[in-house]
């Protein structure tokens, strides 16, 4: 994305963000709550339309896509929502099958793909459960299975570990790495959990006051002397406030 701006009323969220993900990498986007991380992610698949700037996916300007081209592009991008966003009227199997039914996959192949996707996230055996019968971590895993069922080229993760206990967080992080390794997807992971970011990311970008404050490898960010970055990753609010002032 290049020079992306987005405001809600008078509140500026993104103020000229330029950021790109390399093929096959996992890019973590960190930042304070309300910094615009989810807005950035939603702009990639045009769930939100930037006020200014361009977003390219596979060289296509997302804002210029016609309706059919847009849905075609979205099928190449899996999206894992913060609270999973499972369809609560459907069981786990049908949730995971939704994207596959859209591309008219034959039923036998579809069933096989759903089972395989659920196996990848270690949720096989839960096909008949409703989302209400799952724990938070299980829902996130089903959300991930749904996102990868169509074997997308890219996967976007919106706060995949928020609200989970440390063990489940580590499990989800492991799954993100597994998706990257086994399916070769390019991932963008929005998080404010530094442990997760270090575990899964090839590069980490920090979003701060509408722009990218820092981008580099996990090792580089840990060596950063920028007080805003340092204050955030070490959880030192006084340092960050001092730098902001």
């Amino acid at each position: 994305m290049q020079d992306v701006h987005k405001a809600f009323g008078s509140r500026v969220i993104l103020d000229g963000v330029t950021l790109s993900a390399r093929d096959g990498e996992t890019l973590a986007v960190i930042g304070y709550s309300g910094a615009g991380k989810s807005v950035l992610l939603k702009s990639i698949v045009r769930l939100l339309v930037p006020d200014r700037g361009v977003v390219h996916v596979d060289g296509q300007d997302v804002s210029q896509l016609e309706r059919d081209e847009l849905y075609d592009m979205r099928r190449r991008v899996g999206y894992v929502f913060q609270f999973a966003a499972l369809f609560d009227s459907m069981n786990v199997f049908d949730n995971v099958a939704m994207g596959l039914r859209r591309i008219r996959m034959p039923e036998a192949e579809l069933a096989e793909r759903v089972i395989e996707s659920l196996r990848l996230v270690e949720m096989n055996g839960f096909e008949d459960r409703l989302p209400a019968q799952l724990s938070g971590g299980q829902r996130k895993r089903v959300g991930l299975a749904r996102a990868i069922a169509t074997r997308p080229k890219y996967v976007l993760y919106d706060e995949p570990t928020t609200g989970l206990d440390p063990v489940t967080t580590a499990v989800i992080d492991g799954l993100i790495l597994k998706m990257s390794r086994e399916l070769g997807v390019t991932s963008v992971v929005v998080t404010h959990d530094m442990k997760s970011a270090y575990r899964v990311a090839d590069r980490i970008a920090m979003l701060y006051q509408g722009g990218i404050r820092f981008i580099g490898t996990p090792e580089e960010i840990q060596r950063s002397e920028d007080p805003v970055v340092h204050g955030f990753i070490e959880g030192l609010p006084e340092l960050a406030q001092e730098a902001a002032a």
């Binding site: 939603k42 698949v45 769930l47 309706r67 849905y71 075609d72 979205r74 099928r75 991008v77 899996g78 999206y79 929502f81 913060q82 609270f83 966003a85 499972l86 369809f87 609560d88 939704m98 994207g99 859209r102 591309i103 749904r146 996102a147 169509t150």
Partner: protein, 259 residues
Amino acid sequence: MNAWTSPIAWVGRSALDTAAGFGRFGSFMTGAARATRDARTWGQLVVFHMAKLGVESLPIALFIAAFTGIVMALQASYTFTGAVPLYFVGVLVGKTIILELGPVLTGLALAGRVGANIAAEIGSMRVTEQIDALETLGYDPFAYLVVPRVIAGLLMFPICVAFANAIGVVGGWITAINLLEMSTPEFIRGLRLFFRPFDIQYSLIKAASFGLAVTSIGCFYGFNTTGGAAAVGRSTTQAVVVSSMLILVLDAFWAIVLL
């Protein structure tokens, strides 16, 4: 701003808000109309929603109609005593049920049941990002959520009203022969006296327009829900209030245009 100008400003703001609301609804309906091209998505969902909106609403529609028929027969008899032949009970029951009370009372009941259900369901999907999820899976949410419900409403409201009309008249007839010392031929004589086949068409045209109004307003408020559980409640209430008002406006509109 002083006490004299603030009411004017309020009127101005309200007018602008109303105009903006119409604009948003127009844009929403344009999106829905465009999504009708995606028949592959909505086609397979229409029957499900017809059952959900129509078949499941039938008991309440019939319950209201039956009691309306009973009351109409008793009130007609009370009004006509001595002055008008009793078989006019059949005229009044038939005409008022078919032309007015059948479609309007059924429409209002279904605005509460169907409109609230649609707004709450879609509103919950909006606030839990399920609509965004649909989009990311390659579905047009208009084609998946709005079009099948609106088509189901358009088709099922007239069917519910047709049954309600029939049950309303039967309720009036049973009351007439049991409580008003009328015979069946007398009641039928009154029923047929001013009956025109157009009455049925008129009733069903109104019902179809109510179906369109209730389902599209429910979808519109559900779709535009922002916030959390409280916002879903607000959308649901607004959907019921606005669609109930729209039913009454449409009722007057069809009376002016078709009668």
